[in-house]
């Protein structure tokens, strides 16, 4: 009975043709907006490259290397900054990587299952803190606390070039900046490593445990080899972040422009990003152009690091 109702009551659209405009207005608009947004991403990055390059040209043209006459050298200005940037990031990674692997293992394999997501959230909170607040905390709270550690290292391990030299308070040195950078990249490395560790084939782990391996032996023989590529990639991502970080370095480091290895000494190093941030307010003309040039160098540096990280991820990612 219901079916007859359906027929008699309904207007019969069936008799109309199925022909249509083919493209509806809404469909066209949506398609154009979507494709347009995709193209806009292309344009934006092209614009970044073009503006950074074109605005840095005046400095290149005015430099000794290009004109041969000017007294300022592009390389002499840029290289110490690149050195400082890379050194600070490298030390940050040396501190952060083992701790991150530890945390990632703790959350993925040691902590009770019920606690794991909450602990992961704590690490995410660490990532949510703005860098300027880290800078403030590092500059005011952490630097004085690190002083005895530096004195200790300098006194007893001064024969190692890194800890040599004459540290003077306040310890606004590269080591302090690196410690804060380490805190900032920790959540990134942890998050990626944790994901990789969790993807370890369950069967392999259970096989190891069934053979009588301890938890640590299982991790050493199964989890870590499986996750090696992921940890390397995570570290590269962390490196990319550390290279580009401005505030932690700007607010902590007393700048210098040398190739010194003495990370406990004050006023020896500076990073590209911090240098731009501290000089941009007074810079104009060729000076501004020079800052933009160093920014371009930083962009290229981080691009290479990130591309390398992605390449490693793609190569070592779990095959599915």
């Amino acid at each position: 009975m219901s079916t007859t109702d359906l027929e008699s009551d309904s207007p019969a659209p069936q008799t109309s043709s199925m022909r249509g405009s083919g493209r509806r207005v809404g469909d066209s608009v949506f398609s154009y907006l979507s494709v347009g947004s995709g193209l806009l991403i292309f344009l934006t990055l092209a614009a970044v490259a073009i503006f950074l390059t074109s605005e840095s040209m005046p400095a290149v043209i005015a430099s000794q290397e290009f004109s041969g006459t000017s007294e300022f050298s592009l390389i002499e200005v840029t290289l110490p900054l690149v050195y400082g940037t890379v050194l600070a990031s490298a030390i940050a990674l040396v501190i952060a990587i083992p701790i991150s692997i530890g945390i990632a293992l703790f959350i993925s394999h040691f902590a009770p299952r019920r606690l794991a997501s909450g602990l992961g959230y704590m690490i995410d909170l660490l990532a949510a803190v703005p860098s300027v607040v880290y800078g403030l905390w590092g500059g005011i709270w952490l630097v004085p606390k690190l002083e005895p550690v530096y004195v200790f290292l300098n006194t007893y391990f001064g024969w190692i070039p890194l800890f040599a030299g004459e540290p003077t308070a306040p310890m606004r040195n590269l080591a302090s900046a690196s410690v804060v950078l380490a805190v900032m990249v920790l959540p990134i490395i942890t998050a990626v490593s944790r994901e990789v560790f969790l993807q370890t084939p369950r069967l392999q782990e259970e096989a190891a445990l069934a053979l009588g391996a301890t938890r640590w032996e299982t991790i050493r023989t199964v989890v870590l080899p499986f996750g090696r590529g992921g940890v390397v990639a995570a570290s590269m991502l962390g490196l990319g972040r550390a290279l580009g970080e401005t505030m932690a370095v700007l607010m902590i480091l007393a700048p210098g422009a040398t190739f010194s290895l003495h990370i406990l000494e004050v006023g020896r190093h500076n990073s590209i990003a911090a240098n731009i941030a501290s000089k941009q307010a007074e810079a104009s003309g060729v000076d501004m152009s020079l800052l933009i040039f160093t920014g371009l160098v930083l962009f290229v540096l981080t691009f290479i690091i990130n591309a390398l990280a992605r390449w490693i991820v793609a190569r070592s990612g779990p095959k599915s």
């Binding site: 494709v35 990003a273 990130n306």
Partner: protein
């Protein structure tokens, strides 16, 4: 075997469980480590909380490992040691978080509550007429600036990011669009890695290329720079959410004679709305604390500027940086007088640093509220996609 009890028991009947130590032996080795550490440090006259904890943990590792080595053998001892190390790694990472939160609350919240001239006026006053060590002023202008600039960055980034994600998920499936999609995915990856200072340089370079005045700074420049950082986050978070919508639902909609765009709007976006909101809120939370791009593009002022297209603006992150750089004030007299309106303020040496902490507290509260809101949305409003 060193202990007499283990010699008496024949190894064959002893299960591995009996050999294992109960977990609470860790408490004993921990206490022992701490006691020895305190004693040693006291002898060398270097006793402090931090050094006792550090040395204590080190000795705890040593004692725990040694005891386990004697009782359980080298393999389990290694397992114990690694367990302790891994827990230690987590504890170390919590240390900066907790100490930072403690400092921000104890110094920042206190300053904001006990603000002068009236309590809580830190959030309603700006910095006009505040000079030297004057114990007054607030961040109202910086809050307005932060919210306005973030709002404009969102107005630019959310549509672009969302439509790019829609393009990648719904349109880039064949032909030239597929090729374009691959390119876009790659470029979004590149954008994710752009250092924030470079985004600031871009905002600056873009505008000074077209403006006669090289020293031009305004809110919209900051919003453009932040967009560069925000768009890739929006694209990636949204893309992930859109891909979670089962293909079934799109097919069900198409089979009912619903055009593609209405299917996207009313089925795909509607189903993913909670996840999209979460992803976008997290993207906002990420850029709202960005400092470096704003240092370059919006500068700093002492009073409220509502106009995004004219003049400099204050923001919370740059305000924190500026107050921190000002450092300790010089208090020659007990009071400071505003030369313009003759108002008199008490002088405080630490006033700048205190304001920095209070502003940091404000910023952290905003960021945390956004983060928690994002998680609540995804927790409570996600549709159950499978029974």
């Amino acid at each position: 075997m060193s202990s007499s009890t283990s010699v008496q028991a024949p190894p064959t009947v002893r299960s591995s469980d009996e050999r294992r130590l109960p977990w609470y032996h860790l408490i004993f080795t921990g206490l022992a480590g701490l006691l020895v550490a305190v004693a040693v440090l006291a002898i060398f006259d270097a006793l402090s909380v931090a050094s006792a904890i550090m040395l204590g943990f080190g000795l705890h590792l040593l004692f725990g490992w040694g005891y386990s080595l004697l009782r359980e053998g080298p393999r389990w001892a290694m397992d114990r040691l690694m367990t302790l190390l891994v827990i230690g790694a987590f504890a170390i990472s919590m240390f900066p978080l907790l100490s930072l939160l403690w400092e921000v609350i104890s110094r920042g919240l206190t300053r904001a509550i006990a603000a002068k001239p009236t309590p809580f006026s830190f959030w309603s006053e700006d910095m006009s007429g505040i000079i030297g060590g004057a114990d007054a002023g607030g961040v109202f202008h910086a809050i307005v600036g932060t919210l306005l600039i973030t709002l404009w960055a969102s107005i630019i980034s959310i549509p672009v990011g969302l439509f790019t994600a829609i393009f990648l998920v719904e349109y880039a499936d064949q032909g030239w669009k597929r090729t374009l999609g691959r390119g876009v995915t790659f470029l979004v990856d590149v954008m994710t890695g752009i250092p924030s200072i470079v985004a600031g340089l871009f905002g600056l370079a873009l505008f000074i290329a077209f403006m006669p005045d090289q020293s031009v700074r305004m809110g919209i420049m900051g919003a453009v720079a932040l967009s560069l950082l925000m768009i890739p986050t929006v694209v990636r978070n949204s893309e992930e959410m859109l891909r979670l919508v089962p293909m079934d639902l799109r097919e069900a909609s198409y089979a009912l004679g619903v055009p593609k765009w209405l299917t996207i709007v009313k089925v795909v976006l509607r189903t993913a709305i909670a996840g999209l909101t979460t992803g976008i809120t997290l993207a906002i939370a990420r850029v709202i604390g960005e400092t470096a791009p704003l240092l370059l593009t919006v500068g700093m002022v002492t009073s409220v500027n509502w106009n995004m297209f004219d003049g400099r603006m204050a923001t919370l992150p740059t305000f924190i940086n500026q107050q921190y750089r000002n450092g300790n004030a010089n208090c020659m007299n007990e009071t400071v007088t505003n030369p313009v309106n003759q108002e008199v303020y008490a002088c405080s040496i630490t006033t700048n640093i205190d304001r920095a902490w209070a502003a940091a507290f404000t910023l952290i509260v905003i960021v945390m509220v956004l983060n928690i809101a994002a998680r609540l949305v995804s927790h409570y409003f996600s549709p159950k996609l499978s029974r």
